[in-house]
């Protein structure tokens, strides 16, 4: 196996004391960046990028990619503890992670999140190690119709699952689409829905909406229930890690499915955020305990975290082989590659063997280091919940405000966050689900652009979404998932009758 020997050589490159030190620094910085909402992996890497120009390229990318892994791990922490997603891809983690923490099982939720992140990343790295030449070309199959089919699949996987309140789900999603449309339209270059306010030109940022809707909204809700001066009980024991590990193998099927979803979305590249939503939707649909998702199921944490990390990791493959970044962070790393004098593209794997395999080896090592770092901190993180709400709430609000400001260095975003906070509170009081709004806001723009690009290419012919096996298969699957509840009802009737 040529790959094995290359990989061993890569470990040789990555396993110097200097590189291991950088790896550790990167992971710790990344976790901090992941925890702070607003300051995403992309910003973190961009800020540190100039520092690395004096390093050898391999060491530089090892450190920067470790920041990225750290941010992927770290995003889950605040999602679970406070219902505030530190990163876009951990929104879906809040659905079950936060209820778990409320039940006093924060430690279990964190352990499950970190472990499944690691599993997802491991599957993705193994795939990159052995299948990269085959898979890299797969991404070339994806034109606008295929991208739209991917987004449609994400929406449909997620939408069919909400129970009862169908109209409220649709209303919430439409508000999300509306907000996503504000700003400059990619396809026509026209300004839309800004009502003449230049400050609205930049549109509504997903992160600010999420910080407000989830973070501030949650705090308002808790305030209403009365200021609790006692913290929640949280086990401060490393044993919780081992206990959760004993439980996790039960969800092997969900892990496997989520890894596949994640790798697919990473390579395409669709991104880690849609991957986490899609995976959560699929898991809910096909799990035995699907009915109880959203009430604090460990499986509901495993699904999105596995997929997000698998997607985040495999997103580096299209960046390296095609020069197409699969995530905002990958885009910054791409810029770094060019400045270090490395040209991402089909030839990188042949011309820069040392760099590529050093990076791949560091993906194994970095994720192991990351897992060790975050798992040993689980009791510490969980202990934060013991701090009384009256102390932690003001801190959260300040951190949220800083996070919102960091996104664009703009004070308006902080006000916007507060408006979203009030909206989040009202929506929850009136029983409107927040998730569809968030999903529509994060994917609405991309879905719309790819739909209209596809229409430009096909001259308005909708059959382009069934024009080959790939796009037809995805569109078909999406429609199947959308109508799944209706189909199961029909099937039951047929059997009954």
């Amino acid at each position: 196996m040529e790959e094995i020997s290359s990989l061993m050589h890569g470990f040789g490159v990555a396993l110097t004391l200097f590189n291991l030190g950088l790896m550790f620094v990167g992971i710790v910085l990344g976790v901090i960046i992941g925890v702070l909402p607003g300051l995403g992996g992309a910003n973190g890497v961009a800020i540190l990028l100039p520092l690395t120009f004096t390093m050898p390229p391999t060491s530089a990318i090892i450190m920067l990619s470790c920041i990225y892994w750290g941010a992927l791990f770290g995003g889950a922490i605040t999602s679970i503890l406070f219902n505030i997603p530190g990163e876009p891809w951990s929104v879906a983690t809040t659905f079950d992670g936060f209820p778990l923490a409320q039940k006093g099982r924060a430690g279990a939720a964190l352990t499950a999140a970190f472990t499944s992140s690691f599993v997802g990343a491991l599957v993705a790295v193994i795939m990159i190690t052995f299948l990269s030449p085959v898979i890299a070309n797969f991404a070339l199959e994806f034109g606008p119709p295929e991208f739209f089919a991917v987004y449609l699949l994400t929406f449909c996987a997620f939408v069919g699952m909400s129970k009862g309140q169908a109209l409220k789900t649709i209303a919430s999603m439409m508000v999300g689409f509306g907000l996503a449309a504000v700003g400059i339209d990619t396809v026509t270059g026209q300004v839309r829905l800004t009502f003449g306010f230049t400050s609205l030109l930049q549109g509504f940022d997903f992160l600010i909406a999420v910080i407000g809707l989830f973070g501030i909204g949650e705090i308002l809700l808790t305030l209403e229930e009365g200021l609790a001066f006692k913290g929640k009980s949280a086990k401060l024991n490393v044993k919780v890690v081992l206990e959760t590990w004993r439980e996790l193998p039960r969800y092997w099927l969900t892990s496997l499915r989520s890894s596949v979803v994640g790798c697919f979305m990473g390579i395409v590249p669709g991104g880690a955020t849609p991957a986490s939503f899609m995976s959560y939707g699929v898991a809910k649909r096909f799990s035995k305990d699907g009915e109880r998702f959203g009430t604090g199921q460990v499986e509901g944490v495993v699904a999105p975290e596995t997929a997000a990390h698998a997607a985040g990791t495999s997103a580096l493959l299209p960046m390296l082989t095609l020069g197409v970044p699969g995530s905002p962070t990958a885009a910054v790393l791409l810029g770094g590659l060019l400045i270090w004098g490395l040209q991402p593209g089909p030839l990188l794997f042949q011309e820069q063997k040392e760099f590529v395999w050093g990076l791949i080896a560091s993906m194994y090592l970095g994720n192991i280091a990351g897992l060790v770092v975050v798992l040993t901190c689980v009791p510490l993180f969980a202990a934060i919940l013991r701090v009384p709400f009256s102390i932690i709430a003001p801190i959260i609000i300040v951190v949220c405000a800083i996070g919102a400001y960091t996104v664009h260095n703009n004070m308006l975003d902080v006000y916007m966050m507060m408006v979203f906070g009030a909206a989040g509170y009202l929506m929850r009081k009136l029983n409107y689900p927040l998730a569809p709004l968030v999903l529509a806001l994060v994917l609405g723009d991309a879905a719309e652009s790819s739909f209209r690009q596809a229409m430009l290419i096909s001259a308005g012919d909708v059959s382009v979404f069934f024009s080959n096996w790939l796009v037809g298969g995805m569109t078909g699957l999406a429609l199947l998932l959308l109508f799944w509840p209706t189909i199961t009802v029909l099937l039951k009737r047929l059997r009954g009758g």
């Binding site: 100039p50 810029g335 991402p344 089909p346």
Partner: protein, 337 residues
């Protein structure tokens, strides 16, 4: 003892005098930043302007060219309007720089955002970015003539041109090409240059006008073929990029009988109303950046046109470019009503 002391005194007085003379003798040192300098990028992270800004930041840091830190900040909202409005609003602030691309002209023209470069202070042109007509290497087209003839034969709108953004440089080049040749393309806008190159390799579009750096990897891998470069003269780079071709071997579109050219400004501006000494300081700083070997490598990798202007020449270039963009945008019907 006392004579020694007086000697010491005399020496130090002398050296102080020399120091004072030296200070007075170098007016370029008269102004220096006293706090962190913000370097605004009116585009997202990872794009061409962002890369150049971060590269400048790295060079300044590595060679210790500035005492205070230089911090790159992306303000990409509204096709860059966010960044331009920020700098326009910071009148008189000598601790703010902005790097521009063609959206300096196209964004206010296409959207009607109340912004004009005349409210800024031009500092220095760093380079010009080139545009190259690319096709998939599996297609038979070798010259711009062959390609546009095929497009004309297929019928208006049958051939698809992929590009970055809408009513921005890529679409302007496309419209100018249509005007010069009579071919009609369907322009399909994507979010980034890397995505456009991949779409072309995957044959989802028929051609692109990618900047060299956006398509070079696919060219070297034999997936894309350059047809012609939209500049007045060939690129000066003679080193082989592929097995048998250098950047300089790509003919200009003018050579092939298509009478048009377009280059994109990569220049630095400051807010309006800043002291002349501050402008001189940055002109000097950026000249030092351009003199480094790292910069020469960067120019070569990205196949940039290394024209660099400052002062009145730069201002005139920008003014001419604005007129040109206004004409091109007007003809294409891209001006905000």
């Amino acid at each position: 003892m006392s004579s020694k002391f007086s000697k010491l005194l005399r020496v130090s007085a002398l050296s102080l005098g020399v120091l004072a003379l030296a200070l007075a003798g170098s007016p370029a040192r008269a102004w220096e930043p006293t706090k962190t300098v913000e370097f605004i990028v009116p585009a997202g992270t990872g794009g061409g302007a962002d890369q150049m800004a971060r590269f400048i930041q790295a060079v300044v840091q590595k060679h210790n060219l500035m005492k205070e830190p230089l911090v790159v900040i992306n303000k990409s909202g509204g096709a860059g309007a966010e960044g331009f409005l920020d700098v326009q609003g910071a009148k008189g602030d000598p601790h703010k720089l902005i790097i521009t691309l063609s959206n300096l002209f196209t964004t206010p023209m296409a959207t009607g955002v109340p912004f004009n470069w005349k409210n800024l202070t031009p500092v220095s042109m760093m380079a010009l970015d080139e545009f190259v007509l690319w096709v998939n290497a599996d297609t038979p087209y070798k010259t711009v003539q062959e390609y546009t003839d095929a497009a004309k034969k297929a019928g208006p709108g049958k051939f698809k041109m992929g590009g970055t953004g809408s009513k921005q440089e890529d679409q302007i080049v496309t419209v100018a090409l249509e005007k010069a040749t009579g071919a009609k393309f369907t322009y399909v806008p994507f979010k980034g240059g890397g995505a456009v190159a991949t779409q072309l390799v995957g044959k989802h579009v028929d051609s692109s006008v990618n900047n060299p750096i956006e398509a070079v990897a696919q060219w070297r891998a034999g997936k894309l073929r350059p047809i012609c470069v939209f500049d007045d003269a060939r690129l000066p780079y003679k080193d082989k990029v592929t097995a048998d071709m250098a950047w300089g071997d790509i003919p200009t579109c003018k050579e092939q009988g298509v009478n048009m050219s377009y280059v994109m400004l990569r220049g630095i501006f400051m807010p309006g109303g800043v002291p002349a000494e501050a402008v001189n300081y940055y002109v000097d700083l950026l000249a030092k950046v351009r003199a480094t070997p790292e910069w020469a490598d960067f120019m070569k990798t990205g196949a940039f046109n290394q024209t660099a202007l400052t002062g009145e020449a730069y201002r005139k270039w920008v003014a001419d470019a604005e007129v040109l963009h206004h004409e091109l945008m007007k003809e294409a019907g891209f001006l905000a009503k």
